[in-house]
Amino acid sequence: MNVDITGAKVFFTIPTGIPVMGDILISETLVVSWIVMILITGLCIWLTRDLKVENISKRQAVAEMLVEMANNFVIGNMGEKFRHMIPFVAALFTTSVVSNLISLIGLRSPTTDLSTEAAWAVVVFIMITSQKIKAGGIGGYLKGFTQPIPVLTPFNVLSELATPVSMACRHFGNILSGVVINGLLYAALAVASSALFGLLPGVLGDVLAQIPFLSVGVPAVLSVYFDWFSGVMQAFIFCMLTVMYIANAAEG
């Protein structure tokens, strides 16, 4: 039995002819990303429907709680002057969480494509760098690489570049590992199931061996870790690192 774990499916290819960029691939990643965006936006609209000042509904309480949580998270970690970062961090977190958890309904989550995390990490890296330049000027930023001694410059450049790479790969690796392990587990359980029920005599054994009974229930236990815990945890870590790096960069 072969277990095949592949990347996202490509639905269309739009040729562009641009040398480095290559063709536009309308892949599962993009389609599910749009579904995620529609879900989040729909949820936002639903949550903020007929807001009231007094005598609020449960729905409004949830909306207020989410806003308060985002405010507290960003302002608590970055300070009052980063108030404008709240929607960005909130978008990053919700997109990440919903993307990770959307695998629960059988869609391939966009976060199993390194392009997604790389995109986020590069955006964060640009923000970090712009904050550093804002804090110390371009001279100060470049001089920062030669600290504490000029010999360390290559290592400093490397560690600077390692930030987005590690952020992207950490998130991607955790989500992908879940997909890989789940794929292996389903395959293994199917094999075990057919072996187990194949022991039954006659036609009954042949029929039952085709149905992977063991796949029911057992993967759910692992799903608690790989989908729920890991998904939420990685989104949180990604946002926490974003917030921390940007706040540190602003301090100089």
Binding site: I5, T6, G7, A8, K9, V10, F11, T13, T16, V20, M21, G22, D23, I24, L25, S27, T29, L30, S33, W34, M37, I40, T41, C44, I45, L47, T48, L51, K52, V53, E54, Q60, A63, E64, L66, V67, A70, I86, P87, F88, A90, A91, L92, T94, T95, P110, D113, L114, S115, T116, A118, A119, W120, V122, V123, F172, L176
Partner: protein, 167 residues
């Protein structure tokens, strides 16, 4: 169906995901943060207004209370003033009444004394005249002739004065 590699970066997907992230940011800002923050601001303004109103009401109540207390104090003072003045007036009146009574009594006494003196004088004059007449008569009878009353008036008066002293 064509399939991507498991670990790869597709440039256009990468660009699209950056755009998606910013579009998502705008959507969340527009549909979650803007309405909720507007509502929270409104609520904060309402709460502030209510606190301000309560403070105003409190200060008003305080003012009313102090006014009431001042009024009460004034009324108390006025009452005690009225009481004191009434007492004073009463004392003055009673004194006046007493004085008046004593004055009246004195006047009555004086008048009575005057009356008595007058009566006495009148009586004395009557008696004087009578006695004078009688004396004249007696003397006339004794002497046998008329004695001019006018001639002896002085004599008679002396006599009467003596009688008066004796009596």
């Amino acid at each position: 169906m064509q399939v991507q590699e498991l670990v790869t970066i597709i440039p256009w997907t990468f660009v699209a995901q950056i755009c998606n992230l910013f579009i998502q940011m705008y959507l969340i800002k527009r549909f979650l943060f803007k309405p909720v923050n507007a509502m929270l601001d409104k609520r904060r303004a309402l709460a502030d207004a209510q606190i301000r109103e309560a403070e105003e009401a409190k200060s008003q109540a305080q003012a009313i209370k102090s006014e009431y207390e001042a009024n009460m104090l004034e009324a108390k003072n006025k009452a005690s003033e009225i009481l004191a003045s009434a007492q004073k007036t009463a004392a003055a009146q009673s004194e006046e009444v007493l004085r008046e009574a004593s004055r009246q009594a004195a006047a009555m006494k004086a008048k009575a004394e005057g009356d008595i003196a007058q009566e006495k004088r009148k009586a004395v004059n009557e008696i004087k005249n009578e006695i004078g007449g009688m004396a004249m008569e007696i003397a006339g009878k004794v002497i046998g002739r008329e004695i001019s009353e006018d001639d002896h008036t002085k004599l008679i008066d002396e006599f009467i004065a003596n009688v008066g002293e004796v009596s």
